[in-house]
C-alpha cells in the first residue's frame, strides 16, 4: 500500500503518470545512464579544476591563491557528487530498516548481544536527532534495556553514513574503516557501561507511566520503484539542506590549504601534544555541524600535520555529541544520566584519539 502511495505521490507533476508508473526495467536504464554521467563528471574534475584555475581565472601556478582556488574548484563538486551518490544509496538501504522494525528486533534481546546489535542497527536505521525523544520512549517502554537504547542513540549520529563515505573518498578505506570501527566500539561500550550502572531511575518518571501502542506506522515503500524514489527524494532533501555547509567547509579547507604553512598544525594538533586530544573533544562537544560540513576541515587539518587521532576525536565530538540533542534528551533524562551519557561517550572518544595517535 505504501509503495503505491509513494508512486502516486511522485506522479503529481504529470497527471497520466498515475497509470503508467515506471517499472523496474525503466528504472534500471535511467539509473545506469545516471551512473555513467556521474562517473564521467567525477573523472573530469582534476582537468576541469586546473583549466578553471589556470586558463579561465588566469592564476599563476604555485601561488597561495591559485592553490586555494584549485582546491576549492576540485573539492566542491567532488564532495557534492560523492554526497549525492551516498545519500541516494543510504536512502534506498534505509527503506529496509524503520525505527519500528529495529525496536521489534531489540525488544527481544539481552544485554551484551543487544548492545552490539543496537549499535549496528543505529547505523542503518533512519534517525534524526529531533526524533530522539519519541524513539527513546518507544524503546524503553516496550522492553528494550536502557543500555541497549543508549548504544543505539550513540551510534546513530556518531557513525554517520555521509561522514563514512566522504572519509572513504578523501582519505581512503583505512581511515574510513577506523572511523566506523571505533565509532561502533564507542557506542557499544557506552551502552554497556550505562546498562551496568543501572541508571533506570534517572529517566524521568513519566516516561515509564506512558501507556502506548508499540504499533506505529511503517510508511516506507516495500517495492523497488518505491525504494528508488525514496532514495531520490532523500538526495533532494539532504543535499538540498547541507550543500551550503559543505561549500563553507570546503572554503575553510581551501583557506588552510593555501595559506596555512605545512606542519603548522603539527605543533598544535600533532602527536607530541598530549593535551591536544582532550582539547579537541572539549571544543568539539558544544559545536554542532553536520558530518558533511566538518569533513573538509578535517582534510585540511590532516594535510597540515595534525595527528589522525586528534582530528578523529574532534570530528566524533562534533557530530556524535551535540548540544541541541542533549537539550532535547533532557526532557526524558535526569541531569545525572545526561552527564553520564556525555561523560562516557566523551571518555570513549578520548581513548580513541589517544590510541590512534599512538598507533599511527
Amino acid at each position: 500500500m505504501s509503495g503505491e502511495l509513494a508512486a502516486q505521490r511522485h506522479g503529481t507533476a504529470r497527471a497520466p503518470a498515475l497509470r503508467s508508473r515506471p517499472g523496474l526495467g525503466a528504472i534500471m536504464v535511467t539509473g545506469l545512464a545516471a551512473l555513467v554521467l556521474w562517473v564521467a563528471c567525477y573523472l573530469s574534475l582534476p582537468a576541469l579544476s586546473r583549466w578553471i584555475t589556470a586558463d579561465v581565472l588566469g592564476l599563476r601556478r604555485g601561488t597561495a591563491l591559485a592553490s586555494a582556488v584549485e582546491f576549492f574548484v576540485f573539492e566542491a563538486p567532488k564532495v557534492l557528487l560523492l554526497l549525492a551518490l551516498v545519500v541516494f544509496a543510504v536512502g534506498v538501504v534505509r527503506t529496509f530498516f524503520t525505527p519500528e522494525r529495529t525496536r521489534r528486533v531489540l525488544a527481544g534481546t539481552r544485554e551484551p548481544v543487544g548492545t552490539v546489535l543496537a549499535a549496528l542497527l543505529g547505523v542503518v536505521t533512519p534517525f534524526c536527532s529531533c526524533s530522539a525523544v519519541p524513539l527513546f520512549i518507544g524503546f524503553v517502554t516496550t522492553g528494550v534495556p536502557l543500555g541497549v537504547t543508549f548504544s543505539f542513540l550513540v551510534a546513530a549520529p556518531m557513525v554517520n553514513e555521509v561522514a563514512l563515505v566522504l572519509l572513504l573518498g578523501l582519505f581512503g578505506w583505512k581511515v574510513a574503516a577506523v572511523y566506523m570501527g571505533t565509532g561502533l566500539a564507542i557506542a557499544m561500550v557506552s551502552g554497556w557501561v550505562i546498562g551496568r550502572l543501572g541508571m533506570e531511575r534517572h529517566v524521568e518518571e513519566w516516561v515509564y507511566d506512558v501507556t502506548g501502542t508499540p504499533a506505529g506506522a511503517d510508511a516506507s515503500p516495500t517495492d523497488w520503484p518505491g525504494r528508488v524514489r525514496t532514495g531520490v527524494a532523500t538526495v533532494g532533501e539532504i543535499v538540498g539542506k547541507v550543500w551550503p555547509y559543505v561549500l563553507a567547509g570546503i572554503a575553510v579547507g581551501a583557506g588552510i590549504h593555501g595559506w596555512v604553512p605545512t606542519n603548522f598544525m603539527a605543533s598544535l594538533m600533532g602527536r607530541g601534544a598530549w593535551w591536544a586530544v582532550p582539547l579537541a573533544v572539549l571544543i568539539g562537544i558544544p559545536m554542532y555541524s553536520n558530518a558533511a560540513g566538518i569533513i573538509p576541515i578535517v582534510e585540511a587539518l590532516l594535510e597540515k600535520g595534525a595527528a589522525l587521532g586528534t582530528v578523529l576525536a574532534f570530528m566524533m565530538a562534533v557530530i556524535g555529541l551535540s548540544l541541541p540533542e542533549t537539550v532535547i534528551l533532557r526532557k526524558v533524562l535526569r541531569p545525572r544520566l545526561i552527564a553520564t551519557f556525555i561523560g562516557v561517550v566523551g571518555a570513549g572518544i578520548l581513548v580513541v584519539g589517544y590510541v590512534f595517535n599512538f598507533l599511527f
Binding site: Q8, P99, F127, C128, S131, P134, T141, G216, K331
Partner: protein, 83 residues
C-alpha cells in the same frame, strides 16, 4: 467519505520539518474546505500513545498514517480520501 474525518494530528517536537508538515496538511484541508480539525501536537506522551518513533508523523482520527518524513500535498489528499 472525507466528511468522516474529524481530527488530523501532526506530531513533532517543533522542528522545521514538523512545521512544514503542518503547513502541507493545513493547505490541503483548507483548499478542500474540510470541516476537520488540524492540530499540531508536541506532547511526547501523545506520540508514545500512538506509537510514533519518528517525527514528523501524521495521524488521522488517532491512527498513524505517516511517520518520519514531510509528506507531499497529493499524499495527504489521498490519505484524507479526497481522490
Amino acid at each position: 467519505m472525507e466528511d468522516n474525518v474529524k481530527t488530523v494530528e501532526i506530531l513533532g517536537s517543533g522542528c522545521a520539518r514538523c512545521e512544514e508538515t503542518y503547513r502541507v496538511v493545513r493547505h490541503v484541508v483548507e483548499e478542500a474546505g474540510l470541516a476537520c480539525e488540524v492540530v499540531k501536537v508536541e506532547s511526547y506522551q501523545r506520540m508514545a500513545q500512538l506509537g510514533v518513533m519518528a517525527t514528523p508523523a501524521v495521524a488521522i482520527d488517532g491512527g498513524v498514517v505517516l511517520a518520519g518524513r514531510v509528506p507531499k500535498a497529493e499524499e495527504i489528499r489521498q490519505l484524507l480520501g479526497l481522490r
